[in-house]
């Protein structure tokens, strides 16, 4: 199934986030967890997203061990609920697509994770800021696939059996 833009329309941002799981329990001492990629060692890496093919987000990752060739963008996260935003504690973090040369970064684009109270973590990239400065991280924004056509795949329902169906129309004055 394809969506194509109209001939005079602007390109659009096909964009998805892979996993956001937000634990919304009351903040208390049980929240001492690191989220995002720090959870990988605990078995919380989603299947199919290995560390080797994943870009890590901001923080120390952009200096050492930063994997520019990785396809995936995983925002690392950490939290201390007793002193910060409790919603950042979860087993996930936010994942978004970074499709190599096919993606663009959009500054100030709303991170959907903020819907759940998770602080936005725009992508940062290592830049050379001069002889005395060395390297620093520059905020690039949220990576999206900016395109004029997108294939959202095939669909099928196999072996469907409708056992029962009944439709009742409401009368006037029904709530």
């Amino acid at each position: 199934m394809f969506f194509r833009k109209c001939s005079t329309c602007a390109d659009f941002d096909a964009f998805a986030y892979m996993l956001t799981a937000v634990d919304v329990r009351n903040g208390n001492s049980q929240y001492t967890c690191p989220g995002g990629e720090g959870c990988a060692g605990d078995g919380y890496t989603p299947r199919g997203v290995g560390v080797s093919n994943r870009n890590d987000g901001p923080g120390d990752q952009y200096t050492d061990g930063y994997d520019m060739s990785g396809r995936y963008y995983a925002i690392s996260d950490s939290c201390q609920a007793t002193s910060g935003d409790p919603y950042r504690c979860g087993y996930g973090g936010s994942y978004s697509v970074n499709a190599g040369a096919k993606h663009v970064f959009v500054l100030n684009k709303l991170d959907p994770s903020t819907t759940f109270g998770v602080a936005s973590r725009p992508y940062k990239e290592e830049v050379d800021c001069g002889f005395f400065c060395g390297t620093t991280g520059e905020t690039r924004g949220i990576p999206v696939i900016r395109t004029d056509v997108v294939n959202i795949g095939d669909s099928r329902i196999e072996g469907m059996q409708m056992n029962y169906m009944k439709f009742t129309s409401y009368g006037a004055g029904s709530p």
Binding site: R47, T114, T115, V150, I157, Q161, Y164, Y170, A172
Partner: protein, 442 residues
């Protein structure tokens, strides 16, 4: 000049003639209708008679702008939403052997392997009994089903685009049962890619996943309410036996120490594309039992911590209890569709007098996230998306969960957050039966 005058006179005569014909026809018509009224005995309706007449359109149509409701955001404002709905209630009971939506396509970039946005084996939509599946013939109820189109550039006719299509209902009430359980020696045909070996005597790990099929991947937003009760057996350092009931969340069973009130609930918002696991960090397990556990209970140290990471295939059903704003959609870019009620979940609970009562994160003032205060749904990702803001996965119950030997290190992890990791535990979830008529589904 004379010719022109003649033409004007002829036109005048023609007009007069036309008026005469019209009056004559009117008189004839009046006399006929007068006779008809008197012959059929019809009488004029009074105003009071009109009050006896009732009727309501079966189809309703609506247009909602992406910026007109509370909580408008970057994923709602570029669009106008056109809604066509039926003012009625639809009841369904159905089975599907395989439901695969959005396979391949752009989201393969995201998951890194070929897959589907929504991929579920052996799906049954049926009624519920509390938070458990109902009888095989029981129906799931969709209140006011509708379709909605997200339109971009709506004000410019030459650039108008359909961006997404949504099928939904004001509320859904029922149970979605998924998957199958396998036992020793039976080939798990659906799990050939991961954990296809089933070992029923295992309590954790890949061989547990091999005994289950069902939720292969899910894309969408699930506002879940979780709880479980387990009878946990272990030997700490191979020496100290542990046999205790552990619970977390609000549970209805009386064998554990967890209660049933709203403030005991564990609400977890799950959202994303191609999700395959369900995790809970820092779950406080309240223990009760004999021996060393009773001693810990006596001194108030019977709360331990665990991390659960369960493959979604080990879960065989979700209950939807009057879940508002249920929908299935597909779109080319992220879209925040308007909620059916056009008000935020918190406003809706307040209007219904259910704040502090309903078992939903948005009915609290302590667990509510920003999505609870928006009249637009959580942004649906590119691809297929299922929105179920209040899904119940409660009272998961396993009365025989043997962890085997737990090292001293593992025992220490139990004492503090995030806790002892239990990966792919056997939740002892059984798939609901929905055999009906000649169906060989179960």
């Amino acid at each position: 000049m004379q010719v022109r005058r003649k033409v004007i006179e002829m036109n005048k005569n023609k007009k007069i003639c036309n008026v005469r014909i019209f009056i004559a026809l009117l008189m004839v018509s009046y006399s006929i209708s007068g006779k008809a009224l008197s012959h059929s005995g019809m009488v004029e309706l009074e105003d009071s008679d009109l009050r006896e007449v009732s009727g309501q359109g079966l189809f309703v149509a609506d247009m909602i702008r992406g910026d007109e409701l509370t909580g408008a955001n970057e994923y709602s404002t570029p669009f106008n939403f056109y809604r066509v709905g039926m003012d009625g209630e639809m009841q369904l009971n159905l089975n599907m052997t395989k439901l695969q939506l959005g396979c391949g396509g752009v989201n393969d970039f995201l998951s890194g392997h070929a897959g589907c946005d929504i991929d579920i084996d052996y799906v049954s939509m049926m009624g519920r009994d509390g938070y458990k599946p109902g009888d095989p013939q029981s129906p799931v109820t969709l209140d006011r089903p509708y379709m909605e189109f997200a339109i971009k550039n709506d004000d410019t006719h030459t650039m108008r685009e359909v961006v997404g299509i949504k099928i939904g209902a004001a509320t859904v009430d029922g149970f979605m049962a998924t998957g199958r359980r396998y036992y020793n020696g039976v080939v798990n045909e659906e799990n050939t890619g991961f954990g296809s070996t089933c070992n029923p005597s295992d309590f954790v790990g890949a061989n547990v996943v091999g005994c289950h099929s069902g939720l292969n991947s899910v894309s969408g937003f699930l506002g879940t309410d979780l709880s479980l009760t387990m009878r946990v057996k272990a030997a700490v350092a191979g020496l100290i036996p542990l046999d205790a009931w552990g619970c977390t969340g609000r549970t209805t069973t009386t064998v554990d120490e967890c209660g049933t009130s709203q403030d005991e609930s564990i609400f977890v918002d799950l959202a994303g594309t191609r999700m395959q696991s369900l995790g809970l960090r820092s779950a406080v397990l309240t223990l009760n039992g004999d021996g060393i556990v009773s001693l810990l209970q006596a001194i108030g140290l019977n709360d331990v911590y665990a991390q659960l990471n369960a493959d979604a295939r080990t879960v065989h059903g979700l209950a939807f209890a009057e879940t508002g704003d249920f929908f299935l959609s597909f779109q080319r870019e992220p879209v925040a569709y308007p909620r059916y009620a056009k008000v935020s979940p918190t406003e809706e609970f307040t209007e219904q007098g259910l704040m502090g009562v309903a078992l939903d994160a948005c009915a609290t003032t302590t667990h509510d996230t920003p999505r609870c205060h928006s009249a637009y749904a959580v942004p649906a990702n590119t691809g297929w998306w299922m929105n179920a803001p209040s899904a119940k996965l409660v009272d998961v119950f396993n009365d025989d969960f043997d962890l085997g030997n737990v090292s001293i290190g593992g025992a220490l992890e139990l004492l503090g957050a995030p806790g002892f990791l239990i990966e792919n535990p056997e939740l002892n979830f059984h798939r609901a039966q929905n055999c009906y008529g000649s169906s060989k589904f179960c």
